[in-house]
């Protein structure tokens, strides 16, 4: 029996599933986007308060009272309310493909979301080192609420080969697929060079596998020759 890694859960029939733990830089970026939206909302209610005071000739203090309460509700309710309403996501998390789940990858309860966000102020001060050092990137709030932040599926496309040379085994398939998956984010010249080397290797070891050259770009040609589909 293999030793389970912290991010691995045992599914039905004891099938191991590795949970895609969100890296902390992505979480920080998502937080920054959320705080930007939060800032816009605060500005909006501040403008509303100032407009109210000016339009009533400073006679109605209720606009200031509404601003104070509104700010408090936003400060403590933005993350909690949105994570509950959006199934463990906030606008920032959605943009960066993140989601709050239970320790076992399921939907976090409202209580858990409340607990993890109650410690947000403390985590703002000390949460980042906790995220860096913890194997599951849990900040204090996550640890106490038993929640994880995972990357959502569909954020990266997989390139699956449908046609391979005769001499290839699972290792060669894995290498080609990994290269094609990452080729989009590689420096174009480097990606082209690697694709050419792969094509040369295929042409040398499996003469007749490669068809006539119809694609100028070696990466596109490799995709075409291996019958790659994105999923």
């Amino acid at each position: 029996m293999s030793d389970l890694r912290p991010e691995t859960l045992l599914g039905l029939d004891n099938v191991e599933v590795r949970l895609p733990i969100a890296p902390f830089p992505l979480r920080i970026l998502a937080s920054l986007l959320d705080y930007l939206i939060f800032g816009i909302l605060v500005t909006a209610i501040m403008v509303f308060g100032v407009w109210g005071v000016i339009s009533t000739g400073a006679r109605s203090p209720w606009f200031i009272a509404v601003f104070i309460l509104g700010y408090f509700v936003l400060e403590y309710g933005y993350f909690v309310g949105l994570e509950i309403a959006m199934g463990g996501q906030t606008p920032g998390k959605r943009v960066f493909g993140l989601r709050v789940t239970t320790r076992l990858g399921g939907q976090a309860s409202k209580g858990a979301i409340l607990v993890r966000n109650a410690f947000r102020s403390l985590d703002m001060a000390v949460g980042v080192p906790f995220m860096i050092w913890h194997p599951l990137a849990q900040r204090i709030g996550d640890r106490l609420a038993s929640t994880l932040v995972l990357e959502t599926a569909g954020h990266t496309k997989e390139a699956i080969v449908r046609r391979v040379p005769q001499h290839w085994g699972s290792k060669e398939i894995a290498v080609a697929e990994e290269f094609l998956r990452r080729s989009g984010s590689m420096e174009p010249a480097r990606a082209r060079g690697l694709a050419e080397r792969l094509l040369d290797s295929i042409g040398r070891d499996s003469p007749g596998f490669l068809g006539p050259v119809t694609e100028r770009d070696p990466v596109e040609r490799l995709r075409h020759e291996l019958g790659v589909t994105d999923a």
């Binding site: 009272a65 399921g106 005769q166």
Partner: protein
Amino acid sequence: MHEGAQGYIHFAKSREAFWSSFAERLRSARAAPGSLTFDGLEALAVDYRRILQDHALARARFPGSALGRRLEALAVEATHLLFAEDPKERFSLRRFFADLFPAAMRAHAPHMALCAVLFVCSIAMAFSASTIQPSIGTQILGPEAITNLERGELWTESISRVVPASVSSSAIATNNMSVAITAWVGGVLFGLGSIFVVLNNGFLLGAVFATTTRFGMSGDLFEFIGAHGPLELTLILVSAGHGLAMGHALLAPHDRSRQAAAGAAARRAMTGLVGILPWFLVLGVVEGFVSPSETVDPEVKVALGAALLASFLLVAFRPIARGEAS
């Protein structure tokens, strides 16, 4: 053709339609969870098992392949859709205030009692120290408030003349809630944050009372805080008590892991915190409108304060079923 490669291509070809259909049904179920029928859910659950089996096969025979990653991503997505934490936790306002909140209050009552003892000790210490050394009270209240006291006027009166009641009401409510949340969150620092909030508030109150007593105005201060003070201080102690319970769980987890013990205490403490927050809104209105009012008799203010405290205690410590208490 190599067996591994042949198997891979065959595996992908023979199962692709099923995987695509499963992915599509997952997407639809996530987009409109309400449209998922019982049969649809059952089919998803059965197919989830097949996805896990395909994933296990892909991981064992084709490690590092795109198919393996795709199936793992499908398995993670389906796990999130199909598994939720205890459905009993679905929120019901009636159940919350009838069972969960009183259960949390009872569970952490000893910690609240300890906070109350610390609070009283801190008041007594600050009162004695400020009586012996009046500069302590002067430092806390500031020279302007002392000038007001010398004129026979509480500093609260000048504030209430300048700041409209609606503004002070919302500011007081949000400030008190922030203090309560700080006392609660501070519990995770092994209880030290909660204890600090309790001692600090006790010290301030003791010093302020000593100073007003020196100027013969403690009666006026009692009258001012009569309506809101009892409940306000109780709520601060309650939130600190919940925080202290978290710190206690961290320090002494018994047979559980520190994280598991603190997590369980945090969830119960969160129930306690959520239960007290609405009371701060009521208190904000009382402190903003009633407490500074000269048209409301002192007896009425004290009666209101007692009624508020009694109402809270009745709600917080109402009898509950044995199962909930445990």
